[in-house]
Each structure stands twice: as structure tokens, then as C-alpha cells.
Subunit: 469 residues, 2 copies
């Protein structure tokens, strides 16, 4: 392992963290970074650095990193850009292992002085083998280590989980985190790449592939300088962990904005999309789909084929999902004779007994519901199951039947559901079924169908990967 790779590990699990530009003034980012570290539960040493203060947030402060006696693993820098070269030299002298550079005002500003400063600080840290997250970033969070090295203390409210996010946008990182909090989705790490001084998407994918806390990797991208390096890195790991990617820039405006904002070319959207697939990465349409797809990949087996069964307690949601399935390349397959016979035993001669199945007429017979769902699960034509149930008092028995069945069932095929009830009524049970690995639930039938479509798209990527080998 290279010194840089070793340092990257230490960057995310430091024994000591210095905040260079720490402050007691809530108008300064250095205040919020200190708050993130102290309130985020980080239990190792926190060292405020500020030549103007003796103590910050109750901790002894030091004029510079070189004035501190012990080792410093990670330095978080929140100082004006012009002070950064000097600070970086001190960090290199001190033997700091990694840096999070929150400060903006480098390559992304119109002034050529910004680009020069960028080159100057890159020279210092590259020579010393110090990985730098940023500049122009909110920071980075390792939830499993209670390390919130960002200016947003609220990131620590996230549940610890297995999804990592590497993002070029602070706004989208916050958006996804806030949505995840509301959906109770857990994260392992969030990395705000910012202007990528010397850590880019490829290095983070490289790091996260070997990170035992991470099982699914999400990338949010605006523009990239060297897409080839990312594609090679992703290919090299040969599907070890799913990598899901969302890239803005399909419109002229966002393409232009990306160029200005990130200082790098956005480039033709379609070319990127196809390159990502060839690199074994799963491209999705928007930020919400990143989260929806990551949850599905984390919780579900990948379907072997495009054949989907749609089982629903009501016809409408099934039909809405069929529209999405067909538009997205899934197939609403016919059942085998045996399955169809079983369904016909339990449902009256209403029309929706073939796929999709409206189980409405069996609401009051939970064992019938159970047998229908089981027969469909066992059907060889079916690669994945979409299960919908709008649940209230009148059909509580039907939901009970499904719940009993699912508790015993470990998914051999993906079971993606939209089981929805008035707030508070069945939310805990759904969470329980999700945690036991029985299903993955979404707030609308369309989002459930979309998640299934992305699972199938991922399977196709896996198949083409094997074809190449």
C-alpha cells in the first residue's frame, strides 16, 4: 500500500484532529466545524488551532499545528485562501496524515491567482503524500467513527449504515442526507470532493471498495477531468460493490454551470452515461433515485431476468406500476400454469387474476393472500416481485397475512413493495420487515417499480461484465 493510501485510511479514522481556523464565533465556519466534531461524539483528541485564542469551546487552543506537542492525524482547514500555503507547509512539517480543506477561492474563481494558489498548495501536499479532501467543500463524515469533519453538525443525526456518498455538490450532499434522515436510511461515509486538489472520484472509489463499513457506493457528479481513471478503477474491482452514479448536465444550462462551478468540463451527457455502464457503474436519473437504488441494492437480491410479477391489494397502484415497468424495460410475465391455477383457486373470476394480480377479493382471507404470494414467489417465470398494499382498518387481515409470510421468507428474489398506511399505523412494522431483509418499501408504486428497473439494469451490467471476461 502506498503512503498516500495508508494516509487516506488515517484521514477517515484519525486519533487526533486539528481544526485550523477554529472559532467561538457562530459567524465563522470554524465555529460550526468545532461544533460538528464535539457534538458529533468524536471521542479522540480535538485540537483547536487559532493564534488569537487561548481556549475555544472549552478546549486549549494552539497558535499553530507546530506548537502542539503530540501527533496530528487530520487537519481541517477553515482559513482564508491566502493563508493556506503557509498552513499546508506547517502541516507537512508536522507530519499531518490527511487534510480536509473547506476554504474556497482556488481554481473555481475567475481570478488566475486562484488557479496559481491551487497549484502551489497541490505541490506541497503531493510531495508529502498527504491526501486532501477539497478545497471548497463542506467536509467529510465517517459516521461509523463518529467523525463529523464538516461545517454541518446536523450530519451526525444520520443513522450509521452501509451506504457511502461521494459528491461534487455540497447542496446535493445535504439534500440526500436530509432525505435519508426522513427515510431513516443509514450512511457509512459522506465525502464532499469539492475542487479535488488531489483526491478525485477514482481515489474515493478505490478507498471505499476496501472499506469494510461500506457496501454500496453512490457518486454524485457534475463534471470530471479524467473520466478514464474512474472507469478503470471501477472496472478493476469487477463489481465487488455496486457503484451508482448520478450526473447532472443533461441540459445546456447545467452543463455550462458545471463548467464554471467545478472548473472542469461537463461534456456530452449521453457519452458519459454509456461510459459509466461500460465501466460497470449504474447510472441513475436523479439524486432521489441514487438513494432509492442504493437502498434496493443493499436489501435485495439482484433479479436474474426482467420478468416481474405485480401483486396488489388494489388494482390502481398495480396499473400505475405496470406503466413504469414497461417504459423501463421490465416485463410483466405470464405465470406458469401451476401458479395461475393456485391464484384461480383463491380469487373469484374477476379479470385481474393474471399478472398483474388484484388481490382485493381475497382481503378477508389472509391464508389465500399468503398462498397467492407464495405461489408467485416460487414461479420460475418470475424474477422479481412488486407488492402493493394501501393499508387501513378494512384490510388489516390481508396485510397481516402478508406480514406473517414475509417474516418467514428470506428474499430469494427481489421483493420491492409500496405498503402504505396512514402515518404511524404501520410504519414500525414496515421498518421491521425491511430490517429483517424481507422486502424494501417505497412511498409510491412508481418509485418501487423504478427501483426494480434499476436492479434489473444492474443485473444487465453484471451480465455484460461476465461476457467480457
Amino acid at each position: 500500500m502506498t503512503k498516500r493510501a495508508e494516509n487516506m485510511k488515517i484521514l477517515f479514522a484519525p486519533e487526533s484532529v486539528a481544526v485550523i481556523g477554529a472559532s467561538d464565533n457562530p459567524g465563522k465556519l470554524g465555529f460550526h466545524v468545532m461544533k460538528s466534531l464535539t457534538e458529533g461524539g468524536f471521542s479522540n483528541r480535538i485540537i483547536p488551532v487559532n493564534p488569537g485564542s487561548a481556549r475555544i469551546m472549552g478546549l486549549k487552543a494552539f497558535p499553530s499545528v507546530t506548537d502542539y506537542d503530540g501527533d496530528i492525524d487530520l487537519a481541517i482547514v477553515v482559513l482564508p485562501a491566502k493563508l493556506v500555503p503557509g498552513v499546508f507547509r506547517e502541516c507537512a512539517t508536522k507530519g499531518v496524515k490527511g487534510i480536509v480543506l473547506i476554504t474556497a477561492g482556488f481554481k473555481e474563481i475567475d481570478d488566475p491567482a486562484g488557479a496559481e494558489l491551487h497549484e502551489e498548495i497541490a505541490g506541497i501536499v503531493n510531495g508529502a503524500g498527504i491526501p486532501v479532501i477539497g478545497p471548497n467543500t463542506f467536509g467529510t463524515i465517517n459516521l461509523q467513527a463518529d467523525l463529523n469533519a464538516s461545517f454541518t453538525p446536523e450530519f451526525s443525526q444520520l443513522r450509521k449504515g452501509s451506504i457511502a456518498l461521494v459528491s461534487q455538490s455540497g447542496g446535493i450532499s445535504h439534500l440526500l442526507a436530509f432525505l435519508a434522515m426522513r427515510m431513516d436510511v443509514g450512511f457509512s461515509k459522506i465525502i464532499g470532493l469539492g475542487n479535488r486538489l488531489n483526491v478525485d472520484f477514482d481515489q474515493m472509489v478505490d478507498y471505499l471498495m476496501d472499506d469494510s463499513d461500506t457496501r454500496v457506493i453512490m457518486l454524485y457528479m457534475e463534471g470530471i477531468d479524467n473520466p478514464g481513471r474512474l472507469l478503470e478503477t471501477a472496472k478493476r474491482y469487477n463489481g465487488k460493490k455496486p457503484v451508482i452514479i448520478n450526473k447532472t448536465g443533461s441540459s445546456t444550462k447545467s452543463d455550462q454551470a458545471s463548467r464554471s462551478h467545478t472548473g472542469s468540463m461537463a461534456g456530452s451527457h449521453e457519452i458519459y452515461m454509456s461510459a459509466f455502464s461500460q465501466g460497470g457503474m449504474l447510472a441513475v436519473d436523479n439524486a432521489e433515485s441514487l438513494l432509492d437504488t442504493a437502498r434496493a441494492l443493499l436489501s435485495c437480491p439482484i433479479p436474474d431476468g426482467p420478468g416481474v410479477a405485480v401483486l396488489s391489494g388494489q388494482a390502481g397502484p398495480a396499473m400505475a406500476a405496470c406503466d413504469v415497468c414497461e417504459a423501463r424495460g421490465l416485463k410483466i410475465v405470464p405465470f406458469t400454469g401451476r401458479t395461475q391455477q393456485k391464484i384461480n383457486e383463491h380469487l373469484p373470476p374477476l379479470a385481474l387474476r393474471t399478472n398483474p394480480v388484484d388481490m382485493g377479493p381475497a382481503w378477508y382471507d389472509s391464508s389465500a393472500i399468503e398462498e397467492i404470494v407464495r405461489a408467485v414467489m416460487d414461479d420460475d417465470n418470475v424474477d422479481g416481485i412488486l407488492l402493493f398494499m394501501m393499508f387501513a382498518s378494512a384490510n388489516a387481515d390481508a396485510v397481516k397475512g402478508i406480514s406473517d409470510l414475509l417474516e418467514k421468507w428470506q428474499q430469494r428474489k427481489p421483493l420491492v413493495s409500496c405498503i402504505l398506511s396512514p402515518p404511524g399505523i404501520w410504519d414500525e412494522q414496515i421498518k421491521g420487515l425491511e430490517q429483517s431483509g424481507s422486502l424494501i418499501n417505497y412511498p409510491t408504486p412508481e418509485r418501487a417499480a423504478n427501483a426494480m428497473a434499476y436492479l434489473w439494469k444492474y443485473r444487465k451490467i453484471e451480465i455484460s461484465r461476465k461476457d467480457i471476461l
Copy 2:
């Protein structure tokens, strides 16, 4: 006004409601209907009808409607299909004004006996001028009158509001209601059309156009027998209230399912979409968009043109929204010189000062943020504003600046936002701004952009309506 139209008014605001098939047995729908009425706060008379019980849920029960001495305005019928003709005759004799027929097993079953029964009961009520909601429906709810005439007591948890839903799917009605509860969106009425014995979409649009509790009408459609009647009705009201429509059936499977499920042709999806627009109705892509668009139409002025300004506290969400705007026919317009000058005064020479605007650099200057937003609001090139802010500790000042401005500002142009924070932090303030009519907020930038696109689509429908006149 025809007798039927008068009766329709009474159906939704009855002085007395009989539940024919009322039950104390939770395994029966008649139990849940009784629960909906009693727990829903209905303060007028409730009359359980069941020849086998003297009292049901503490109320005196009657063997039949004709055994009850007083008037009966509304009868809710939850009996097996074969008993319905006899009951309908009794209702006609009794002078019942309206019926909600929950029972299934008529035209929608494969058995020709179902269709015959359908014709038989239609003959009885059509002769007597009695409007019937159903058969094969969950029922109907008039929230403003505390009337929950459905088998789902939980519908009464909805907030009272100004959006009416007319739906051919019980599943989608429940889905939308449960989503609305979670988003705190209020409804006036929910009508489950079921198999439309003698009340179809056109009659409900006719009724709701004159219903003072309803300001926006949402239709969820699977198939329709007589689309011409709906189009004529919608046209006749000439845009008095917005009508938003979502129709499933874009896929072969859902088209087939619709035919079976509703007993009527689904037909070519594209032809319907274009006919809806010509009829002055706003067609949207899915059930979630029904709700998103209804909220926007209820809260926002309609934009005069497609010119949108994107103002964001962070670049990423702005770029994601630009992608949606461009794909959906909105234009990210250049600002006038005056606006651009004002923006340039407050933002450093970073690139994202033209539309879209990244207000990130002004986070700590709430008056700068206020002046930028105000200048853009007043810009003649701008027809609508998309405002995004991912909000946490570090940028609280920026949000405060926007909030102060918005409290004073009544939308002259639509202001559609995605202001998102960790749960509980700013939710109440956002709700306050929504209630004061300052903006309408969505959980993702893409959904906000989509809502703006539908507002513009609605404006185009208005323009073409005027062209025709």
C-alpha cells in the same frame, strides 16, 4: 337545477345517513363504514339498517329503510350484490336522495349476471333521479362536512382543505390520501367512482365546479366510456377551476388491466392526453404529480411565460433543476442588465452569478441575499422563481434573510421552492410561509421544477382557451 343535481348536493351534505348492511363484526365492511361515520365526527343522524340486529355500535338499528320513520337523505349500501335490487327499490320508495353503493360484483365480473344486475339497479335509481356513487367503491368523503361515507375510517385524519379528488381507483385514492396526510395537504372531498352506475367523471366535475369548498379538482382515471361528455363539461366551465388529470394505461398491460378492471376501454394513451389538453384539463404523469401540481395551483399565481430564474444557496440543486426545466419546456432566461448589476454587486466574481445563481458566497450576508432575491422577483424577464436552500446551522443567516423577505412578499409570480433541513428544524417555518401564501415547498429540487413546469403547461392551456374564444 334538475332533481338529480339537487340530490347530488344532498348526497354530500345529508341530514341523515342510513348504513344498509351495518354490522358490529369487524370482519364486515358494514362495521368499518359505521366506524367511519361515528368516529369521523358526523354530527347528523346515523341509522344502522340490519334485519338481524336491534342495536349496532350503540345505535338503534332498523330491519329496513322503510321501517325508519324519519327522512333518509343518504343510504350507504354494503350488502351482497344479489340483495341490492330489492334494497334500491326500498330506497326509491323511501325517497332516499343519494346512494353510495360499496358492494362489488356487478359489471366488473366475468359473469353476465353481473351486467344484468347492473342494468336492473340502474333502471331503478335512474327512474327515481337518485345519484349513485359506485358500485365497487370504497365510498366518498366530504371532509368539510365531517362525512366519511367510506369503509376507511382513517380518511377522517386528512386535513380539511380545498382539493377534491375524483378517482376510479380505491388504491390510488388511499395512496394519495396517505401521502397527503404525511405532507399535511388538505382535501375538500374524495369520491371513489367505482363502476359508475350513473355518476361518472363529467357529473362530478359539474358538481365540483359549483362546490364552494373546492378550488382545485384532481381526476384519477383508468378508463372511460364517454370521454366526449367529460371534455364538453370541462370546456363549458371555461377554466373556472383547474382540473388536473392523471390516467394510467400508457402500457399494454395496464391498458388491458383497465379494460378488465373497470369494464370500459382504456384506449390510446396519446389520444387521451391530447384530448384532455384540448378540453382545458391539465394532464400529469403520475399520481404523485397530481398532488404536487394541485398544491402549486392552489398556492401560486400562474406564470405568464416560460422564463424561470433559479436561485440557490448551493450550485448542485440548481443544476439538477435546470436539467428538469429544460426537458420540460421552461427557459432559464438571462436577467435584465439592472438585475445582473445588482447580483454582481453582492456576489464575488464567481461564475454562477448569471441564471442559475449560486448564492453560496452571500451566505453570511442576509441583506445581500434579500436584495438578490428581490431584484430577480422584479425582473421583467422572469415569469417564475425556483428557490433552493439546503439549510443547516452554518447558513441559518441566509435562510433568515430569505424568510424575512418572503413574509412581506405576496407572490406576484410563482415562487416554488425546495428549502430542506434536517427533520424538525425548519419544517414549521416552511409550513408558515406556505400558509401565508409566500411560496410552495417540495422535498426535492426536481419535484419543485416539475411543479413549475406544470404551472406553465396550465398557462399554455389558458392561452389556447382564449385564442379559441
